[in-house]
């Protein structure tokens, strides 16, 4: 157990270090000019610009600057965001609080819908329901998520006026002041948009796996015993579908994050995705670096959770039998 924790922590630290170096280097090479990004639209003389550059230590070599930045990050200081004029950590924390609500709801929703549709499609394989679900998946997979968001806006906000156009709370009100109902009405469309990204993959995979299960010998035996189709699906099918589902759904955290960037842009939802786009567009280097590191940790945690949950859910691994261990090293040790 300890070995597992230490190994994964080391892996994450190594990953973070490399990501930080690569990202830093890329921002360094890129045409983003931190000083002009900071100055913005104000008229500033050449001299003043140079003073800013000097004050920030931009004249030092990139390696020195990277070391300084990394040291500060290790101390929990990621610098000050230029566009929000706040500590990067503070900005990320604030924004992530809003984003995680959005992503969490969408994630749960897409998981449930995907699982349900997949099971229904497999149970009625080749029938109308199956075909309809397959077409639905194809359409969902082929449509850009931001376009779906715009369609939802056109129908529900512009035409029917059921939901607000954007933001996380009514205009002129901070999120903490808004009532639960107001927050939910602002969340509904973004959550729906974001949930669409994951559904089709999960549905198709669940369908495939469930068909395999339904064609197995024990399914035939259960049928011979007089088990109803749905009884079989709940008693045997679900367990077998669960493992690949967990791997896929927890592994999709990276796509979820990407999708949230698009959804938040369409709905001007003031979350982390929105901050990502703003920081990249306006050349806010400290914030962008911070978000990159943060999102890497986020994705890593998602994948780690998938691995751990699979180990917990799979009795072959949980009971510690040799059959479950696939890695070569373990085989060598036991042999």
């Amino acid at each position: 157990m300890w070995k597992f924790i230490i190994k994964n922590t080391l892996r994450m630290l190594l990953l973070l270090w490399v990501v930080s170096v690569v990202t830093f280097a890329m921002v360094e090479i890129s045409p983003i000019d931190a000083v002009s990004a900071y100055v913005g639209e104000y008229a500033v003389t050449e001299q003043q610009q140079q003073k800013i550059a000097e004050y920030w230590g931009l004249n030092e070599s990139p390696v020195v600057r990277y070391c300084k930045w990394a040291k500060n990050v290790l101390h929990g200081d990621m610098g000050v965001s230029m566009i929000y004029r706040k500590n990067v950590m503070e900005v990320i924390g604030e924004r992530f609080g809003l984003s995680i609500v959005l992503m969490g709801c969408a994630w749960v929703l897409s998981g449930l819908i995907g699982l349900f549709l997949g099971i229904v499609a497999a149970t009625y394989q080749g029938r109308l329901a199956d075909k309809a679900i397959k077409v639905y998946c194809l359409l969902l997979e082929s449509s850009p998520s931001f376009w779906i968001g715009m369609l939802l806006l056109i129908v529900f906000s512009v035409r029917l006026r059921l939901f607000p156009m954007g933001l996380a709370s009514p205009i002129g009100m901070s999120v903490s002041e808004a009532t639960l109902g107001q927050r939910l009405s602002h969340l509904a469309l973004p959550v729906l948009t974001l949930s669409f990204t994951g559904i089709s993959k999960i549905t198709l995979q669940t369908r495939e796996k469930m068909i395999q299960v339904l064609e197995s010998d024990y399914a035939l035996f259960a049928k011979a015993r007089g088990e109803s189709v749905w009884g079989f699906v709940f008693r045997h099918g679900l367990r077998n579908v669960l493992l690949p589902f967990i791997i896929l759904h927890f592994g999709s955290v990276s796509e979820l994050f990407g999708g949230s960037v698009l959804a938040e842009t369409v709905f001007t939802y003031p979350g982390l995705g929105n901050a990502t786009v703003q920081s990249a567009l306006k050349g806010d280097v400290p914030l962008f670096l911070g978000i990159t590191l943060f999102s890497t940790i986020f994705v890593f945690c998602g994948n780690l959770a998938a691995n751990v949950l699979v180990a917990v859910a799979n009795p072959q691994i949980r009971e510690g039998g040799n059959r479950g261990k696939r890695s070569k090293k373990n085989e060598k040790v036991t042999a």
């Binding site: 990953l15 490399v18 990501v19 690569v22 990202t23 890329m26 921002v27 090479i29 890129s30 045409p31 983003i32 194809l138 359409l139 997979e141 082929s142 449509s143 850009p144 998520s145 931001f146 376009w147 715009m150 369609l151 806006l153 056109i154 512009v158 156009m165 990276s254 796509e255 994050f257 990407g258 960037v261 698009l262 842009t265 369409v266 990502t276 786009v277 990249a280 567009l281 978000i291 990159t292 999102s295 890497t296 986020f298 994705v299 890593f300």
Partner: protein, 283 residues
Amino acid sequence: MENVQKRTKKLRLNRRTRTILVFLVTMTILGCITVMGLAMHSDRYGTNFQIKNVAPCAVHLFGTDWMGRDMFMRTVKGLSTSIFVGLLASAASSVLALFLGVAAGVCGEKATAVFNWFVDLFMGVPHLILLILISILMGKGIKGVTTGVILTHWCGLGRIVQAEIAALRNSQYVLAAQKLGKSKAWIAVRHVLPHVFPQFIVGLVLMFPHAIMHEASITFLGFGLPAEEPAIGIILSEAMKYLTTGTWWLAVFPGACLLFVVCLFELMGNQLRLLMDPYSAQE
């Protein structure tokens, strides 16, 4: 039951014919769009303030926008750009995947470890953030988007190729070739490549939808093609600003066209995949 099967057999074409049909239809449509887009004079999608905000009608199929630009022409032009970028990027990315996968598979365990580590690195950062980063690094524009898509899409296919080859490495005929003193490059080209080729083709076709979609997303966010170019992402991000004015056609039709093109490719890829798989090829 038998009756039903007989009937469907008569009605339905087999998978091979269907695949060829889908392939031909897709190619014709794509060809038409690309040729139309390339040959189109810029007047056709230019501004004309006399016909501002016209709803879809017989003359302007997709309506016109607030500057009187014909949306149908803009969409076709935009699609042709998107298809071009998508094809280029997915082709280059899958060649990269093939090259890296073969290299990792043929060169032994250490190379595989390095390869896996790189894949982990690329998969560790959210796709979209990496794309934004690379695009900015390359100075945005077509160059930025294409490089970004190429560098971020090889991981999945690369893994498949590598796994396939790892399984091949200890097969009798590869071992025999090694004992006969053939070089690694010779084995890679003569024995390994033909084996992974079907997977590669399917991967290539299925990568296109992702490539074109990511191109549109990145452009939509403002890190892709420049604003004066009529790309689908640009059209949609401009339409975003006019959503509240009730000009729904600005967003609906261009997006639907993109959906259509991507759908065709997705269908083609899936048909190809089923055809390559001996279990489902004869269905």
